[in-house]
C-alpha cells in the first residue's frame, strides 16, 4: 500500500466504524423508554375532606427517575420512581411517604395518592397539569 493511500484507508475505516457505531447506538436506543414525564406545575383538588392540606398547587421538577416536589404550603419532597412505571401508574418512594401518580391521561389529569410513613392514612388528590417547563422552539430566542 502506498504511503499516500494508507491515511485514506485509515479514515475510511474510521468513518465506517463511526457510522456503524452510531447506527448501533441509535438502534439499541430506539427500544429504550424513559420514565413518564411528570414535570411541571400541577393543580391539586383534594378528593376527600380528610386529605392533608398541602396547598392548591405543586411544582414537580423531574430528571428521569428523580423528582423534587414542592407543594404550595412549603413542603418539599425528594422522591424517586420505584418499580415498573406506566403512564397509568407511577409509584414513587421518598423518605417520608409513598406517592403514586395514577391514571395520567392525555389531558394531563391524574390522581395523586400519598401514604405518609408511620401514619395509617392515605391522602388523595385529583391533579391537573397546568404548565410544563418552557422549551425553546425554532426562532423563540
Amino acid at each position: 500500500m502506498s504511503a499516500a493511500s494508507r491515511p485514506t484507508v485509515v479514515y475510511v475505516v474510521m468513518l465506517a466504524c463511526s457510522i456503524f457505531g452510531l447506527w448501533v447506538i441509535l438502534t439499541l436506543g430506539r427500544n429504550l423508554k424513559p420514565p413518564p414525564d411528570l414535570s411541571g406545575q400541577w393543580q391539586l383538588t383534594p378528593l376527600t375532606p380528610e386529605t392533608a392540606n398541602m396547598g392548591s398547587t405543586m411544582l414537580v421538577e423531574q430528571s428521569g427517575r428523580f423528582l423534587q416536589i414542592a407543594f404550595a404550603n412549603g413542603a418539599t419532597v425528594s422522591a424517586q420512581m420505584d418499580g415498573p412505571q406506566t403512564p397509568s401508574h407511577v409509584p414513587l418512594a421518598s423518605d417520608w411517604s409513598i406517592i403514586e401518580f395514577n391514571g395520567l391521561d392525555h389531558l394531563d389529569t391524574a390522581q395523586l395518592v400519598m401514604n405518609p410513613a408511620h401514619e395509617d392514612r392515605t391522602d388523595t388528590w385529583k391533579i391537573r397539569r397546568v404548565s410544563q417547563p418552557a422549551v425553546a422552539s425554532r426562532g423563540s430566542h
Partner: protein, 728 residues
C-alpha cells in the same frame, strides 16, 4: 444588608435591579478570575465558578431571601437576553479567530488525532446515553433518544480552543510539537463542534421528515450564500478598512448588524443563532489587520461584561441540590469518567499511534480534555431545547468545570516543568555568557555596552542572550492570540538592544516568551541556557524605593547564576574608562573584582580597588588578603592589567565610597550590609550608595558557594570560608 435592601427597592425598577445584578456579577467574576489566575488556573474557571456561586447552588442556598431579592424570577429574562447576546457575539469572535491555516496546513498526526478526539467522545457519549436514558431523562417529545444521544455525543466532544491556547501560551508550549498538534486539533474540533451543534439542533427541532429536509436545504442555501455573496462583500469591507486605515463606526455598526442578521437567519432556519454568528466570524477575511481591528472594538465589552452575565445566567439555572442522592453522584462521576475517557483516552491513543511518546501523547490528551466555556454554551443550548434535564445539566456543568480545572495540574504531572526544561536545555559553550532581561527598550543600549565589555571580542564562544518577557494580555483569557499579537511588541522592546549589539559586533540571541512571573522565568532561563551572569537594568520598584527590592530581589535570591544590576545615571558615554571596585572581602566583592577584571582585560580600562577596613582592628591581614585577591584577578602573567590598590580606613565605608567614587566612570560593588546594599523584597529605604554616588553603579551578587564555583576541593572550601568570614 439595609443598603442592599434599599438598593433593591428598585425591585419595581428593572433597570436599577439589572444594574445591581451586573455590578455584582462583574465584581465577583473579576475577583474569582483573579484568584484562579494566581492559582495558575485558567481565568475562565474562576468566572464559571462565580456564576455558579451566584445561583441557587450557593447564594440561593446560603441566603435564599437575599438571593430572591437580588435575582427575582421576573428579572431572569433580562439576564437571559444579555447573556444570549454575549454568547452570540462571543461565537462571532471565536469564528473570527479561526485561522484557516491551522486547519489547512496540518500534518497526518494532527489530522488523525483531531478526528479521533471528536469521534471517540462522540460515540462514548452516545453509548453512555444508552445507560442514562432510562434513568435521567423524561418521556417528552424533545427528549427522544436520537436527539439526546446526538446531543450527549456532541457535548462530550467539545474542546475549549481559547482555554487550551491560553494554557499553551502560559506554559510556553505553543511553539513545541505538542502545542502545534493540540492547537490544530482544537481548531478542527471547534469547527466540527459548532457544525455538529447545528446538526443536532436541526434534528431536535425538525418536525417530521419534511421539516428535516427543509431545514437541511435551507442550511445548505444559507452556507452557500455566506460563502458566495457575503464573503466577497466582507473582502470589500476589508479593502475599505485598509484604504482608510481605521475602522469607522459605520463599519462597526454594519458588522454588528451582519452578526445579528446571520444569527437571526440560522435561528429561523432551525440550526441555532450561535451557528450563524460563528460562521460569519469564520468567513471573515483573515489577512491583514482588519480582523484584529474588529476584535479590539468588540472584544472587551463582550468578554468583560456580557460573558460573566452568561456565566451567572448558567449558574442561576443550575442547581447542584438536584444531585441529592449517592446514585445521582454516581451518574455524575460516570459522566466525568466517560467524558475524560473519550476525549483524553481517544486523543492519547491516537497520538501514541501516530508515533509520539506516551508522555507527549498524554499531554495532548489532557489538553484536548479542556472544555471550559464552550461546554457551557452547548449545554445551555441543550437546556433551552429541552434535550437534557436539570440533573444532567448540573452534572455536565460540573464535568466542564472539573475537566477544565484539572488540565493545568495534570499537565504539570504528566509533562512537568522539569521535563520541559530538560528538552530545552542547550549545550553550554565554553565562552563567557551574559543574559540581559530587557523590560524597557531604552535600557537595552547601555546594557549591551556593558555586556560587550564583560564578554569581550576575542572569545568566539561568547554569548549574549537578550530576554524579553511579556505578560499574557487579557484577551488571551478567552482567545488564543498566540503569536501574531505578541511578536511585534517583543521585537520593538529588543530593537535598541539589537541595534547596539550590531554596532558593537556582539552576537545576540533574542529570547522572547510570555510570563506571569518574570523573576522566576529570568532565573529559569539563565539556568537552562547555562549563562554566567544575569545583567539587569534597574527601574524603581512600584511599591518601594529600594533598588534591590521587588523583582530584582527575587532574581538575586532565586537564581543559580551571578547577578549584576546596572544603575544607569543617564550619563554613560560608551565604555567606562575608570572603574572603582570597593572591596571588603566578601564573595560578592570578589565577584565585583572579577567582573572589573574582565572589563579591564577586554576594554583596557583602568581599575582601582578601594580596600576599606575599620580603623585599628586586624587591618594587616585584611590588606594582605585584598592584595592577594587583586593579584589573582589582575596580575595574569600573560596579560597584566592596570590596577591600583588603595587601602583606606574609616568608620563609615559608605561615606568613603561616596567620596572616592567622584573621579570614576563606573563603580562595581558587591551587595553587602556594610555598603548599605541588602537585597530585600520590600525595602522602603533607598540605598545611600545608590543615592549619593553620582557615577553609574554595577551592583553584583555572587550566587551560591563562591569557592565551589571556583572548583576548590571541599576541605579547602571550609578553611577558605573561615578565612573569608574572618576577613569580612
Amino acid at each position: 444588608m439595609k443598603v442592599l435592601e434599599a438598593l433593591l427597592q428598585s425591585g419595581a425598577n428593572p433597570v436599577l435591579l439589572l444594574v445591581v445584578q451586573i455590578a455584582l456579577i462583574l465584581g465577583l467574576s473579576r475577583l474569582l478570575g483573579l484568584i484562579f489566575t494566581r492559582l495558575h488556573q485558567p481565568q475562565v474557571v474562576g468566572e464559571m465558578l462565580a456564576g455558579i456561586m451566584l445561583g441557587p447552588s450557593l447564594f440561593g442556598w446560603l441566603a435564599p431571601h437575599a438571593a430572591a431579592m437580588v435575582f427575582p424570577a421576573a428579572s431572569i429574562p433580562y439576564l437571559n437576553v444579555l447573556s444570549q447576546l454575549g454568547v452570540i457575539c462571543f461565537l462571532f469572535l471565536v469564528g473570527l479567530e479561526l485561522d484557516p491555516k491551522l486547519i489547512r496546513n496540518r500534518g497526518h498526526a494532527a489530522v488523525a488525532i483531531s478526528h479521533v478526539s471528536i469521534v471517540a467522545p462522540f460515540l462514548l457519549g452516545g453509548a453512555l446515553t444508552l445507560f442514562l436514558y432510562p434513568r435521567l431523562f423524561n418521556d417528552t417529545p424533545q427528549m427522544q433518544f436520537r436527539s439526546v444521544a446526538l446531543f450527549m455525543g456532541a457535548s462530550m466532544s467539545i474542546t475549549a480552543f481559547p482555554v487550551l491556547a491560553r494554557i499553551l501560551t502560559e506554559r510556553n508550549l505553543h511553539k513545541t510539537k505538542i502545542g502545534a498538534i493540540s492547537i490544530t486539533c482544537a481548531a478542527v474540533d471547534d469547527v466540527t463542534a459548532w457544525c455538529m451543534l447545528a446538526f443536532v439542533v436541526g434534528i431536535a427541532r425538525a418536525q417530521g421528515l419534511r421539516g428535516g429536509l427543509i431545514t437541511a436545504g435551507l442550511s445548505v442555501l444559507y452556507v452557500a450564500v455566506m460563502f458566495l455573496l457575503v464573503r466577497p462583500f466582507l473582502r470589500r469591507l476589508q479593502q475599505t478598512y485598509e484604504r482608510q486605515q481605521r475602522l469607522s463606526q459605520m463599519m462597526v455598526g454594519l458588522i454588528v448588524l451582519m452578526i445579528l442578521v446571520s444569527a437571526y437567519l440560522t435561528e429561523i432556519i432551525g440550526i441555532h443563532a450561535l451557528f450563524g454568528a460563528f460562521l460569519l466570524g469564520a468567513i471573515m477575511p483573515k489577512a491583514g489587520a482588519f480582523v484584529k481591528a474588529i476584535n479590539e472594538k468588540l472584544e472587551d465589552f463582550v468578554v468583560v461584561v456580557l460573558l460573566p452575565v452568561f456565566f451567572a445566567y448558567t449558574g442561576l439555572r443550575m442547581r447542584v441540590g438536584v444531585l441529592d442522592t449517592p446514585e445521582m453522584w454516581f451518574y455524575c462521576g460516570l459522566i466525568i469518567f466517560v467524558a475524560c475517557l473519550g476525549k483524553f483516552g481517544g486523543s492519547t491513543l491516537a497520538a501514541r499511534a501516530c508515533g509520539l511518546g506516551w508522555r507527549e501523547s498524554g499531554a495532548i490528551g489532557i489538553l484536548m480534555n479542556t472544555r471550559g466555556l464552550m461546554e457551557l454554551v452547548i449545554l445551555n443550548v441543550g437546556r433551552e431545547l429541552g434535550v437534557i434535564t436539570d440533573a444532567v445539566f448540573a452534572m455536565m456543568v460540573i464535568m466542564a468545570l472539573i475537566t477544565t480545572a484539572l488540565t493545568t495540574p495534570i499537565l504539570h504531572l504528566v509533562y512537568p516543568q522539569r521535563k520541559m526544561e530538560q528538552e530545552q536545555i542547550l549545550d553550554a559553550s565554553g565562552g563567557y555568557s551574559v543574559l540581559i532581561p530587557v523590560s524597557r527598550p531604552a535600557s537595552g543600549r547601555s546594557l549591551v555596552q556593558l555586556a560587550s565589555a564583560l564578554i569581550g571580542s576575542n572569545d568566539t564562544d561568547r554569548r549574549l542572550l537578550a530576554l524579553n518577557l511579556s505578560r499574557p494580555i487579557d484577551r488571551d483569557a478567552y482567545r488564543a492570540g498566540i503569536d501574531a499579537e505578541q511578536a511585534p511588541e517583543a521585537n520593538n522592546s529588543l530593537q535598541p538592544l539589537l541595534d547596539e549589539a550590531l554596532k558593537q559586533k556582539v552576537p545576540v540571541t533574542p529570547v522572547t516568551f510570555t510570563s506571569r512571573d518574570f523573576a522566576s522565568d529570568i532565573a529559569r532561563t539563565a539556568r537552562l541556557r547555562h549563562v554566567d551572569l544575569i545583567l539587569m537594568g534597574f527601574h524603581h520598584p512600584v511599591y518601594t524605593s529600594s533598588i534591590l527590592g521587588g523583582t530584582v530581589h527575587r532574581v538575586m535570591t532565586g537564581s543559580d547564576t551571578d547577578v549584576a544590576i546596572f544603575v544607569d545615571r543617564g550619563n554613560t558615554a560608551g565604555i567606562p574608562g575608570k572603574i572603582l571596585v570597593p572591596y571588603m572581602g566578601s564573595k560578592h566583592d570578589r565577584l565585583a573584582l572579577e567582573l572589573a577584571g574582565r572589563m579591564a582585560r577586554n576594554r583596557n580600562v583602568e581599575v582601582t580597588v578601594l580596600h576599606v577596613s575599620a580603623p585599628g582592628g586586624n587591618s594587616g591581614d585584611n590588606k594582605l588578603h585584598a592584595k592577594s585577591e587583586t593579584d589573582r584577578v589582575f596580575n595574569d602573567p600573560t596579560q597584566p592589567l592596570p590596577v591600583t590598590l588603595r587601602n583606606v580606613e574609616g568608620d563609615s565605608p559608605v561615606d568613603l565610597v561616596v567620596e572616592q567614587s567622584k573621579e570614576f566612570d563606573l563603580v562595581v560593588i558587591g551587595v553587602a550590609e556594610e555598603w548599605g546594599l541588602e537585597s530585600q523584597l520590600l525595602g522602603f529605604r533607598a540605598e545611600r550608595i545608590a543615592q549619593e554616588v553620582t557615577a553609574p553603579l554595577l551592583i553584583v551578587r555572587k550566587h551560591g558557594n563562591f569557592h565551589a564555583a571556583r572548583g576548590l576541593p571541599p576541605e579547602k572550601i571550609k578553611s577558605a570560608q573561615q578565612t573569608a568570614a574572618a576577613t569580612a
